[in-house]
């Protein structure tokens, strides 16, 4: 069963082919790594998948549904959630509220119910709080629920961003360098958390990462991108021993 199927996705910026004929198939429940040197177009792929950029060419299918050209919001509703390379939290809101923003479309009540504190407000808020705390517990953030997001240490901010993305109930989770700036111990812990959320929430994961230890350690398949073009794609041991890949990373 394919969770994500991308065919010939391409975009160029002013003549530069940032991503050229990108095709990938990710099976349900798979943990896929997307690697490549700086400027290879990895984040651009994420931006294309989440509708931040509209592709010049190509198609994106999520769980069999064509989501090409949809807006970011619609794509999130269809089941893709993401984190950002440069952390984008709601800085002036509490940790709990950040996750509750992630639950925005899962638990709904009207603005009027909120303003006049109708029963649906209390009922829904209670459910939201319970689920938000459940998610925070997974990331060991529940003790900091009332802390302002900007006051969290860096590593926890990265985790909170994943928690928020997870709260939207995605089928596919895109993680953009989740371990960036973390020390080896934190990275280790993060790897465990990623494995755990995949099992617990049955979510398919595509992640961009520079930390080869993390990629080789948890990814079942790896896609290597260089200058917007596929360089290699397959099982970790095959990809990482591919001479082309080594050349791209280490230079001639």
């Amino acid at each position: 069963m394919d969770m994500l199927c991308v065919k010939n996705l391409s975009i160029s910026f002013g003549g530069l082919h940032a991503v050229d004929s990108f095709s990938i198939t990710i099976k349900k429940g798979e943990l896929y790594g997307l690697i490549g040197p700086n400027g290879a177009g990895k984040t651009t792929v994420f931006n294309l998948l989440t509708g931040v950029y509209k592709p010049d060419m190509g198609q994106i299918f999520l769980d069999g549904k064509n989501i090409t050209g949809l807006s970011t919001i619609e794509i999130n509703k269809a089941g893709i959630a993401r984190t950002f390379q440069n952390i984008r939290l709601f800085k002036n809101m509490s940790v709990l509220d950040n996750v509750k923003c992630g639950l925005h479309n899962k638990y709904k009540y009207s603005s009027l119910a909120g303003i006049f504190r109708l029963p649906s407000y209390f009922k829904t808020e209670k459910m939201m709080n319970e689920e938000a705390y459940d998610i925070l517990k997974v990331f060991d953030l529940d003790k900091e629920a009332d802390t302002l997001a900007s006051n969290l240490p860096y590593g926890k901010q990265r985790k909170l961003e994943i928690a928020r993305a997870l709260a939207t109930g995605p089928k596919l989770l895109l993680l953009d360098e989740p371990a960036a700036g973390m020390n080896p111990a934190e990275t280790e812990e993060l790897m465990e958390t990623i494995k755990l959320i995949r099992e617990k929430y049955g979510v398919t994961i595509l992640l961009i990462e520079h930390d080869m230890k993390l990629v080789a350690g948890i990814c079942e398949k790896i896609f290597v991108l260089n200058f917007g073009i596929e360089l290699a794609n397959g099982l970790p041991q095959d990809v990482l021993n591919n001479p082309e890949v080594i050349k791209a990373y280490l230079g001639e």
Binding site: T43, N47, V52, F84
Partner: protein, 293 residues
């Protein structure tokens, strides 16, 4: 014929707006703040000329020089005392402070000169130019204003492109931190910007109040707002933009006033501004805003 004389009137008003707008746009481009008190600096310049000429009975040239000096010093002082402490604060805090400065200047003028509107003696003593057998008459003030505007425009562009200080200004406006690393003195550069902007305001005040010709404590506010809008119209931060925006605004205002409605001319100007921003959200010559994801 009549249209032509309205057009010239519009260009005159637009030239004044342009000169004021240059001050707004430079300060915005470099200090990233909306200097709401800029309009009131114009008013101060006008009162200096008024004092030197009408009260002390000195020559117009002396009055203009005095206005330029006072406004320049005032601009630098305001920046030093009120804005510099807030350089790293939120832009909203700086905006409110600028509003405070604006109130301060207006009320000072009110205390010194009273609430009455004073008649202003034109600093220029020029014969109007008559064209097309006297059907079109262009006043001396108009001619001087348009020439001054062109000269200032060329001078300022050359200064910014060629001089060391000018290039430092561009550097600070692009990236303050990088400019510091390149050895640019940011405080000095910003102070210079305020000095130039305020000196231009003094020139604008002479041109504007000579044409009206009257002055009061609140006379600077509306031209200030209009010039600010002109700067946004053209794309704030852009010097040719301030020029184009100013002239366009002046022409639209005068044509609107003459052909549509005296009372609605301001509304027309503002409505066109909103429409322009809807089509081009960063003004006519403004840089396109792009957020990297």
């Amino acid at each position: 014929m009549r249209f032509l004389s309205y057009l010239i009137e519009g260009i005159r008003l637009g030239s004044v707006y342009s000169i004021i707008a240059l001050g707004y746009t430079m300060v915005y481009g470099i200090a990233k703040m909306l200097n709401f008190a800029h309009g009131d600096v114009i008013m101060v310049g006008g009162f200096v000329v008024f004092t030197v000429m009408s009260i002390w009975g000195q020559s117009p040239i002396l009055a203009v020089i005095a206005a330029v000096i006072v406004c320049t010093l005032l601009g630098v002082t305001i920046e030093r005392i009120a804005y510099r402490p807030l350089r790293k604060a939120t832009s909203l805090a700086v905006l409110i402070t600028a509003i405070g400065v604006s109130y301060l200047l207006q009320n000072l003028a009110l205390l010194i000169f009273g609430a009455n509107i004073k008649s202003f003696t034109s600093v220029f003593n020029l014969e109007p130019i008559r064209l097309a057998e006297g059907e079109i008459s262009i006043s001396g003030e108009t001619v001087v204003t348009i020439i001054a505007c062109i000269v200032i425009m060329i001078g300022l562009t050359t200064f910014i492109k060629r001089s060391k200080t000018g290039r430092a200004m561009i550097a600070v406006s692009e990236d303050k931190d990088a400019a510091v690393l390149m050895g640019v003195n940011v405080n000095k550069t910003i102070a210079t910007t305020f000095a130039i902007g305020s000196a231009l305001a003094a020139v604008a005040s002479v041109l504007q109040f000579s044409s009206i010709p009257s002055i009061s404590a609140t006379s600077g506010a509306m031209p200030g707002i209009k010039a600010f809008i002109a700067a946004v119209f053209g794309g704030i931060g852009s010097i040719p933009g301030a020029m184009i925006g100013g002239i366009l605004l002046g022409v639209i205002e005068i044509l609107g006033r003459r052909y549509i409605s005296m009372e609605l001319s301001d509304a027309i100007v503002f409505l066109i501004l909103i429409l322009v921003l809807l089509v081009k959200p960063t003004g006519i010559l403004g840089k396109k805003y792009h957020e990297k994801v």
